[in-house]
Symmetry: C2
Subunit: 316 residues, 2 copies
């Protein structure tokens, strides 16, 4: 019997799930070659322009396989409705039965993206975080902070955004959680006072410049997930002691590593995969002055892990 | 707001929909190049063996796009549960919103397959059908007859199956609908008394032999949808006056036409596409002694047409 759950029901169980650990286990399985992920299905529409992406896969030997659909219709802004939505389908890997339809409206994608940032920070952030810098004052900028909270004990934040209104709303939302929030409209303010930096914008021009970054900093570069987007100056990747990606094959096609390798300043052989970093202490941050960077483009194993956890919690 | 419907709700509206005409319109749009259908997504599992297929697409300028998932887990027979299931997702082509989740358990795939047989019979069956021959006494063998009923006025049937029990059940189900049903365990009985033949088995060996087929017969070859399956002797296709497929590109890779072209007895240039046959009287049956054949492998436009019709009927 297929169980269908809406966003309200999904939200009701999210805080009881240790998602960061589950996502971490997913990355390890992925890097060990235990995750089957066929190429993403893509449907492109033209009138109005829109697209749908279908991501699907499973962990070998697991109880489930998962299919996720996400849509993007950017002219929806003119209609006052969200530009993207989505759902996740959880099937039995033993019988093919459709166990659950999670009508999450893409929220679980936001959540699993935030949890990946927390996983990377667990293994790469400096021991003493002076201030957390967040580029992007939207939904993902809030969620990254939420999932970092149990991992990083720093409660000081500097947030960069594109308007004072957006920054004021961010501060109003985040300060009640116990954060001291500074806001800035100047992107170059962040690296000078923050040694854990999180980038979650759709920028096409680097926001983080090499000249501004201090040794000992860790950067989570989350926003760039296409060949075009870029938040971090490629010279930062060239300079970094450790560059980690969620998926090496994807990093050859999109994201910050793609930008840096096509610029000729980084060789993909120098890049580590997060699942291997998690599993091997020697690949993690070794000292307080290393510059480290995690470049996320998003892998289906994150969708698998979050959807099965939510399904199991809702079913319980 | 996404509406989710189960099989019972879906079944409640099916009889009020003129599906054959909608499927026909879909085939015409497909052959005119107005349907966007990316390659089928496929996920293969091994323990136990199972598979999921994702078919998706849209008609240009339509209100919807559709994603269908179907699973096949053949060891489910040992568990006493269906070997396949599925669902269809109906989205807005204007905004990307998920309008409806149709939990049809693959029933709509059965229905649209049966409707395609009826469409082909409308344009290719002989004027006077003496007896309808059905290979395959299962669900699809029943549905084909149901959808032929408004198209072909013959009420005499001969059914072939693999066990007397199966044939007895088929007869018991179909006779109350006004059919005179003969049953046989000998595949060669059908062509001698039937001039409209419908093949809906998963056979790997031809059931219809050239020696048995009479001029003026039309054959709907529905069962073979892989490179391996075959229900009709390739010499029948070589001999036929008209060979029609639902999709020429697919027929080069699977089904009866694939078998006949790889056997070297048929050239794909001689094959017509159903949407073009519907739209052009000159491509349809011209006389009572022509031998004609329709080879169906199933195209996503059928899924698009059936799911949007069901969604609109349920929403009304």
């Amino acid at each position: 019997m297929t169980q269908t759950y809406n966003l309200e029901q999904i939200n009701s169980v999210l805080d009881d799930i240790d998602l960061t650990t589950l996502i971490e286990e997913g990355f390890v399985a992925y890097s060990q070659g235990n995750v089957v992920v066929p190429p993403v299905g893509e449907l492109v529409m033209h009138d109005p322009p829109g697209e749908a992406h279908i991501k699907y896969g499973y962990i070998t030997g697991d109880d489930y396989f998962v299919i996720k659909v996400a849509t993007g219709f950017y002219e929806n802004v003119n209609l006052g409705i969200p530009t993207g939505t989505g759902l996740m389908l959880v099937f039995s890997q033993k019988t093919g039965e459709l166990l659950s339809v999670l009508l999450d409206e893409s929220h679980l994608t936001n959540i699993r993206t935030a949890a990946a940032g927390a996983v990377a920070a667990r293994y790469l952030a400096p021991k003493h975080v002076e201030r957390i810098g967040i580029y992007g004052a939207g939904v993902q900028g809030r969620l990254q902070l939420k999932y970092l909270r149990p991992i990083v004990d720093c409660r000081k934040v500097m947030v960069w955004g594109i308007s004072q209104e957006e920054l004021d709303r961010y501060r109003a939302d985040v300060e009640p959680l116990g954060y001291d929030v500074q806001a800035t409209l100047d992107a170059r303010d962040i690296p000078s006072s923050c040694n854990l930096i999180v980038c979650v914008t759709p920028s096409y021009e680097p926001l983080v410049q090499l000249e501004d970054v201090r040794p000992g900093t860790h950067i989570n570069a989350i926003g760039s997930d296409t060949p075009e987007k870029q938040e971090v100056d490629s010279r930062v990747l060239a300079q970094a002691d450790i560059v980690v990606v969620d998926s090496i094959p994807q990093s050859e096609l999109r994201g910050e590593v793609f930008k840096a390798t096509t610029a000729g300043v980084l060789n993909v052989d120098e890049v580590l995969e997060l699942g291997n970093v998690i599993a091997d202490k020697d690949l993690q941050r070794q000292s307080d002055d290393q510059l480290t960077l995690f470049d996320s483009t998003g892998v289906a194993v994150q969708d698998i892990q979050v959807s099965k956890a939510v399904y199991e919690a809702l079913r319980a």
